[in-house]
């Protein structure tokens, strides 16, 4: 009894444990199922989340705002500057006043932490500054009331003292100076010092002339440095009153804007002795007053602010047939309600601050034409300045209040427009789609995804041209006409074909096939004609031969074996006629003909040339990618064809239809959704394939449908560029955007295919 009781207790226990396990397993396994959905969603969410900052709006947060003490601004402020540490904890600014004093101020507590005095050239201690033109974050061209002009540079640097405490060191350098401006009373000066040490000074005078003085440093034959001074007046061909002038960093050209909407340009050679010719452009037909001119970082684009509040950038582009460069408006930035009074370019990228008379400042990015930030203040701003890191902005209003803003502008160079629309880049003569991510320091990064999308679809298109007919017809043949034994061999063979690593295919087509194709390209094209030709001849013969007993056996599902020699003969004939064709049609050199279009044969002399033959081209891609997707299309199409109920087939044959008629009219229409799904999935696979395109194309991002050159696809682009992309940078995020595009494209295709197949399964599940 007792034993029995024990047994039943232990049984109950066993059952309880079993049930517990059962319940637990259910949850764990369900978790596994859901984890798959989660991973798909997670992948999408993660890559999207990386790209989001690209489109984040920029912000300016006021960090410090205080009135400057009178002791600091004993005279009128002429210039300001700011520096913010990378962590944003230390903001330091300085103010340059008319008496030449520079006061460095810790913005946290408004303590003056350093003072310097700028000396006037020629040691006039009591000279005062009449006008200061800022350049970049730290340079000022000063005009003194005694007629001297100089250029100074103010440097703020984070330093650590011996105790490890941080402090800000400041240095003021006078880079260049001239003692006397002649030719009239000066209004405004600009001085630049080039890398070689050539100093160029341009001073706008009251009498609408521009005084130029250049001190050219040259090395003579003996290696000695000689300085040559030249000065002249620019006065000819100025169509109106000059309102503003600007010069490039090297001092090699000068722009002047007038009060009647004209822009004048002078270029200085190293050996310039007298005034150069002026190049006058009527920029605005409505003769509006140009109020401010400045060169965008890189010294290629000219930013123009006018009295209507419009800000535009201009480029000298080659126009018409003459090839002469003419100034043309390229980008229009956000318009101000009031006249523009000042433009301040960043010295790191193509950012531009524009300040209007109403005192609000706009920060815009030139290339993307993105308006990033509108900075307004209670009182109108009189002056603004960028920090060298570009992370802070400083403004000074009329009442000597100093305000610092922390700027948050992560990726100003990217907008939907730069990603997908043509953009007029510096150095280009017209708007274009360009992907180019590396260049010099003042390089304008070009992030157009259009050529990549184009390349993706081009590669896929060529691959599909090759693979779809082969795979589909092959699937039709295998599922409908071959013998059962053979089908059992061919399906695993195709699966093995699918397993061939893409890196192997890529390597073979790029290093083995591409050189062969380059040599035998004519053979390839002739084979497209000779194989069908030989096939037709073979068919004509076959209709006589097929009644023989041995031939009947072939027609029971072994046709493809008889066809192998037919195809090979077709290729052989193409190979034999190649030299003949090439000599006859292309004067013996197809590539040359492709390039210059010269031919003595009437059949081919219509071609105007201009096409280059790259060894790694779209034909190679169509073989490589095609080989990779054939097994995919083949097996899905074969499955859906085989799954068409035998009853349909049998009924059709019983009604007297031939085997081809049955397939064409009965089987194929029933399996169409499956075939569609097969093509969709194959398409999706071709779109995302990386290694083959990476290896077998030149990876040049061009927009050209020609089969004789390559492309760069989204996937290859990621593989090529990601090793050089700094984490969190614009390129990094743009590459993630490429991945998002790929994901979305393939997700769409695969979901579509899956839905179609699901319906097909349901439909034929009934049979």
């Amino acid at each position: 009894m007792a034993i029995d009781l024990k047994k039943s207790v232990s049984n109950k226990k066993t059952i309880r444990i079993a049930k517990l396990w059962d319940a637990l397993a259910k949850y764990i396994i369900t978790f596994g199922g859901i984890a798959v959905i989660v991973s798909v969603v997670l992948i999408l969410l993660l890559i999207v989340s990386v790209t989001l900052p690209l489109f984040e709006s920029s912000t300016a947060t006021p960090v410090e705002a205080t009135k400057l003490a009178d002791s600091v601004v004993k005279a009128r402020p002429m210039g300001i500057g700011v520096s913010m540490s990378a962590d944003g904890n230390f903001v330091t600014s300085y103010v340059l006043t008319a008496d030449g004093e520079i006061s460095v101020i810790n913005m946290r507590d408004l303590r003056v932490i350093g003072e310097s005095k700028v000396k006037c050239p020629g040691s006039h201690e009591d000279a005062r500054i009449l006008h200061a033109t800022p350049y970049g974050q730290d340079q000022f061209s000063l005009l003194w009331d005694n007629g001297a002009a100089s250029m100074i540079e103010v440097k703020l640097a984070d330093k650590y003292d011996s105790a490890g405490n941080r402090y800000i060191a400041h240095d003021v350098y006078t880079r260049a100076g001239i003692e006397k401006v002649t030719g009239g009373s000066p209004v405004k000066s600009i001085i630049r010092k080039s890398e070689e040490g050539t100093v160029t000074c341009a001073v706008l005078l009251h009498n609408n002339k521009i005084f130029i003085k250049r001190i050219v440093r040259e090395e003579d034959l003996l290696g000695d440095i000689i300085e040559k001074e030249v000065s002249f007046l620019l006065e000819k061909d100025i169509p109106g009153q000059v309102t503003s002038i600007t010069m490039d960093e090297q001092g090699s050209f000068l722009f002047a804007g007038t009060d009647n909407g004209a822009i004048v340009r002078w270029a200085f050679e190293d050996d310039q002795e007298s005034a150069p010719d002026a190049e006058v452009t009527t920029a605005f037909i409505d003769k509006r007053r140009i109020t401010s001119l400045v060169m965008i970082f890189g010294d290629v684009s000219l930013a123009v602010g006018d009295e209507k509040g419009e800000v535009s950038t201009w480029l000298r582009v080659r126009s018409g047939d003459s090839g002469a460069r003419k100034l043309r408006k390229i980008h229009s930035l956000k318009s101000h309600p009031d006249p523009v009074v000042d433009l301040i370019p960043s010295r790191r990228n193509k950012l531009l601050i524009s300040l209007d008379r109403g005192g609000s400042a706009y920060i815009d990015y030139m290339t993307s034409e993105r308006h990033l930030i509108t900075v307004t203040n209670d009182r109108p701003l009189a002056m603004v300045s960028f920090s060298p890191r570009g992370n802070a902005m400083l403004g000074l209003d009329e009442k000597n209040n100093l305000i610092a803003w922390k700027l948050h502008m992560e990726h100003p160079e990217v907008s939907w427009k730069t990603l997908f629309a043509p953009v007029h880049y510096e150095g280009y003569d017209e708007p274009d789609y360009v992907w180019q991510t590396t260049g010099g320091e003042d390089f304008e990064a070009k992030f157009s995804l259009t050529p990549l999308l184009f390349g993706t679809f081009k590669g896929t298109l060529y691959a599909m041209l090759f693979s779809v007919p082969l795979a589909l017809f092959g699937a039709v043949y295998t599922s409908q006409f071959t013998s059962y034994e053979f089908r059992r061999v061919i399906k695993p063979a195709v699966e093995i074909m699918a397993a061939v690593p893409s890196v192997v295919i890529g390597f073979l087509v790029a290093l083995w096939l591409a050189p062969i194709m380059e040599r035998w390209i004519i053979t390839f094209f002739s084979a497209l004609i000779t194989i069908p030709g030989i096939f037709i001849i073979f068919m004509l013969c076959w209709q006589r031969l097929r009644h023989a007993n041995w031939a009947k056996r072939i027609e029971r599902g072994y046709e493809f074996m008889a066809l192998v020699p037919v195809v090979l003969i077709g290729v052989f004939v193409a190979y034999e006629v190649t030299p003949l064709l090439e000599n006859m049609l292309f004067d013996g050199n197809f590539k040359q003909w492709l390039f210059d279009g010269k031919s003595s044969c009437w059949l081919t002399n219509w071609w105007s040339g201009g096409m280059r033959y790259d060894q790694r081209n779209s034909i190679i891609i169509s073989f490589g990618l095609g080989f990779a997707v054939i097994p995919i299309i083949f097996s899905i199409a074969e499955d859906s064809l085989t799954n068409v109920p035998q009853a349909l087939n049998a009924a059709s044959l019983a009604l007297g239809a031939s085997r081809w008629q049955t397939v064409w009219r009965v089987v194929l229409p029933s399996a169409i959704p499956g075939i569609f799904a097969a093509i969709m999935i194959g398409f999706g696979r071709a779109i995302g394939e990386t290694m083959i395109v990476l290896m077998a194309t030149g990876n040049t991002p061009i927009i050209d449908l020609s089969p004789f050159n390559g492309m760069r696809t989204l996937s290859a682009n990621i593989a090529v560029e990601i090793p050089e992309a700094p984490v969190g940078g614009t390129l990094y995020r743009t590459l993630f955007l490429c991945a998002v595009l790929l994901f979305v494209l393939t997700f769409f295709l695969n979901t579509l295919a899956e839905v179609v197949r699901e319906n097909l399964r349901k439909k034929y599940g009934r049979f």
């Binding site: 984890a35 699966e495 890196v503 009644h547 996937s715 593989a719 984490v727």
Partner: protein, 556 residues
Amino acid sequence: MNRDASKGFWRQGEPFVWATGTALSITLIIMAILLVVVMVNGLGVFWPKSVAEATFNDGAVALGEFQKDSKNNETGEEEFQFKTANRDLDPQMQDFHWYYRKNLKGEFRYPTDVIVMERMENGNFIGYIKEIKAVNVESIKGETDASRLRDAIAKTHARYESEVGTILDKTSGLADDLQNIRYAILKVKYDSEQIQLGKRSGVQAELDRLGAEMKKLVAEEERIKETSDELVKEQELYESALRKNSVIMADSAGRTKEIPLVDIVRIYQPNNMGYPAKVWHYISKVFELLTADPRESNTEGGLFPAIFGTIMLIFLMAFTSFPLGVMAGIYLREYAKDGVMVRLVRIAVNNLAGIPSIVYGIFGLGFFVYQVGGTLDSWIYPERVAAGVSTFGTGGIIWASMTLGLLTVPVVIVSVEEALGAIPMGVREGSLALGATKFQTLVRVLLPMASPGIMTGFILAMARAAGEVAPLMITGVVKLAPTLPIDWKFPFGFDRKFMHLGFHIYDIGFQSPNVEAAKPMVYITTLLLLLIVLAMTSVAIVLRNKMRKRYQIRSI
């Protein structure tokens, strides 16, 4: 009669049937070509090629392995290519040269005393022995110059192994120690900084202790550096002595080159080798391929690190892919009720299978490497993060394998589903009717029955992982990894970068400076990878077909 029949032939659409057959033949031909090209080019690489001597009309002589005949692209004249090797004697540093047939005087000759020498640097040398200068080894034996040279090389290598080899072992051990000490120093520095900044509680005593430890570590570092410097000096001494053992070789033009014996990997006389000798040479080369490290920027030597990296990668991948795939497969077939959920999971599976591998790669980079790896780093090694050193936060085999794991999950799911689906319902019903719970049925009945099918999925997933390259390129594969990605200490080398056969193909085929010279190696690597993948796939397919048959019979 005949005419009617032939009319019917066209009317019934028979030619179309034949046309579809053409598509299949073309596909099969292309596939065959692929396999044949890889086989022919790959298998032939290690077979010792005869060295031909060509004499030209102007008296010049060229010595090299005959490559191929061709027609010059510009002049259209017949020419042939020799692999003349001796890159260091050629003004253009080329291994391959083209010659015009018309300049050839007479036939090729095959001198028997030609030596082909594989070297550590500058590729092969083809030429004749002029003088053996073996001063540092005991008497060398041999009847011919070649056998004497072989003996001298063997003895020099043996001495090198015993003298320099041991030093190298010691220095590599010291390098590890040095790395560990540097990390320890970083840790101490970080700890004391934390205490100073007040972020961690600690008293002066603690700081003092850290200071003392720091001093000890720095002294230790110094000591190791000194020892290793001494060892390096000693090594140089030995090496310079051994490098005096050399051979002076002459090429066909009589130019001589002195080659230290330690730089010679092996020599052979292809024109003087019988069939067994060639087979033996072939086998030893294959052995070298499978076990040795690569040389000459991966274009010569072995593939061992790449093979090891590939296997390790697949092994680690299994930990992500298999459990997730099996669970999801079981869920779909055994647990889920037909409905929206199943549809969604199925769509997700299909999408997971269709997402381009490069997208997986970039996901692996963004999620595994930077997010998961970065977080791990800041938990485990905050001191290294502070010093800007990433351990997990940079590409490594663990992240690459997890990325691949995710990529291969759909393969496993589909196979598991199919395997479970093939089991007749009666089996389940029988088990349940006997009172087993669903889980018991699954574990004790269904899974054992489905195991060949599940195995198929595993093998297919591994084959897929072996062939994928794109996602690895951004998650941690490198062209040359200094150490194997395995270790006995945490983190077991899983954070290391690794080499991979597929990437090896891409790297040496497309990134190497001398593509022509690298070609044999690319083909052999391709062949190896293809063999591995195709063998795995074939095994999987055979397993699956066997299983299918088994249940077809049972269900009757």
